[in-house]
Amino acid sequence: MLESFMQFEFLQNAAITGLLIGIVAPLLGVFIVVRRLSLIADALSHITLTGIAASLLLEKRVSSIDDWNPVYMGMAFSVAGAILIERLRKVYKHYEELAIPIILSGGIGLGVILISLADGFNTDLFSYLFGSVTAVSRDSMWTVLLVTVIVIFIVIFFYKELFVLSFDEEHASVSGVNGRWIHLLFIVMVALVIASAMQVVGILLVSALMTLPVASALRIATSFKQTIGLSIAFGEVSVMVGLYSSYHLSVPPGGTIVVMAILILVMSIIYKNVRNQQWIKGEAS
């Protein structure tokens, strides 16, 4: 593996991109999960697909456009979708979660039309749906690095605001935190991370990378910081083991990464149950 890693640029791209999204996807995932917004990740990944499809279609139909990186248009759609969700949440004040299925189905609907116009599914699209070890370009890798740096920087600087907003929105407001602004910043970050992670895990499974490691961490962690640390650790293990086995088994990495994340989840649930039983026994004796 190491030899081929040194030899093939595409492997380096995939591995480094994987390393980066293994950090940022679970990092934002923690805030998403505790705020019970897990479905937003799904909605945004589907609207990213629409962007990818639009880019592929344009490339095909407009001769002057050649070799566009569909990731950028995916990102643009994802960010636009994020802003739209926020808008819709205000329109449906009492049914805030309605914004998610609206954007999700709208994204797929439009996506399917664009895909058909671009003459249907091809290998390119398949790799966007389930991820690929070979499809990440050097350009995309640098973009993901930039997104990672920005996201980590923002989370560090707004950590206390993000935390207080997640724990108690009302209290955040009484603390003078501008919830609206921070929330918008947050959801735009989520959109960028989803478009970044999509290249490795695929559109259909990107939300899994944001939520499964967090679900595992929640079973074990005792503090919020520990939840973040463990989520990143679990995310990183899932991505690395997943990419490695994907390369050797010649299956899309989306599948192997998610299966790995599920394995960790199962282990964390068993670990917690065993510990609880030990604790009960200890109390009894």
Binding site: F157, Y159, E170, H171, V174, G176, T222, S223
Partner: protein, 254 residues
């Protein structure tokens, strides 16, 4: 300490959807008071507090905090808030008691600055005040309702507020701990000079502890010293706010 008006409401009204919840309320809270806000269900008590805190905007009237119009008010560390919601927060939230209490410092610290050791010590001090320091590293969801409520008091206390606003903080706290809870509030009021505004269902207990009482049902029906209020006969109360009191005594009997 000279008495200073720290909250001032002038002719404040608020509609929720189409229903008027708060109507023409004038209210002044002076520093050092322990003010109990009582009234039947749906009488607009919680809404009144939300208006004071800028969580809802009044349709009519003006609100001043510490002599400044609410819109221009920025010193949120001066106000500690313990909401009703504290009883129904996401109890699976993966945070320690210490992490929760530190969020009370967010307004004091300001944007682009981080929590540091000094803040941790302040949070521990606040936990000591509410006698919860040994639970600093426990998960917030693992505590009992009464313990959680103490933690939320600590969160409100940690920024050294001069005004604390509490919305039915004793809901979900067992009777034994309610007395301790009032003792704690009494100490904060007398020893630290923190002005308290507290909503309560339990008129008997609140009038025993508070220095002043405000009765409201959409509008303020009585505002005066607790002693004065306690002297009222049921008939006086009936006259004071008609139908409302029946519901009050009814609730009280449970």
């Amino acid at each position: 300490m000279s008495e200073q008006t720290i909250v001032k409401l002038d002719n404040v009204s608020f509609k929720y959807e189409r229903e008027t919840v708060v109507q023409d309320v004038d209210l002044e809270i002076k520093s050092g008071q322990f003010l109990g806000l009582v009234g039947p269900n749906g009488s607009g008590k919680s809404t009144l507090i939300k208006l004071m805190l800028g969580l809802e905007k009044p349709d009519k009237g003006t609100i001043q905090l510490f002599g400044r119009p609410l819109k221009q008010y920025k010193d949120w560390q001066e106000i500690g808030f313990v909401s009703q919601k504290a009883n129904s927060f996401n109890s699976g939230f993966p945070a320690t008691v210490l992490e929760v209490v530190k969020t009370g410092l967010v307004s004091r610290i300001g944007t682009f600055k981080f929590f540091n050791k000094k803040h941790k010590e302040k949070a521990m001090d606040a936990l000591r005040t509410v006698e919860m320091e040994e639970y600093a590293h426990a998960g917030i969801g693992d505590l009992s309702g009464g313990q959680q409520q103490r933690v939320f008091i600590a969160r409100a206390l940690v920024s050294d507020p001069s005004l604390m606003i509490l919305d039915e903080p004793t809901v979900g706290v067992d009777a034994k701990h309610v007395t301790e809870f009032y003792d704690l509030l009494g100490r904060l009021n007398k020893e630290r000079g923190i002005t308290l505004l507290m909503i309560s269902h339990d008129i008997g207990t609140i009038t025993d502890h508070a220095t002043h009482v405000v009765c409201m049902n959409k509008t303020v029906h009585f505002h005066g010293q607790s002693e004065e209020y306690k002297e009222f006969s049921e008939e006086d109360l009936n006259q004071l706010y008609g139908y409302a009191v029946q519901q009050l005594t009814h609730n009280h009997s449970h």
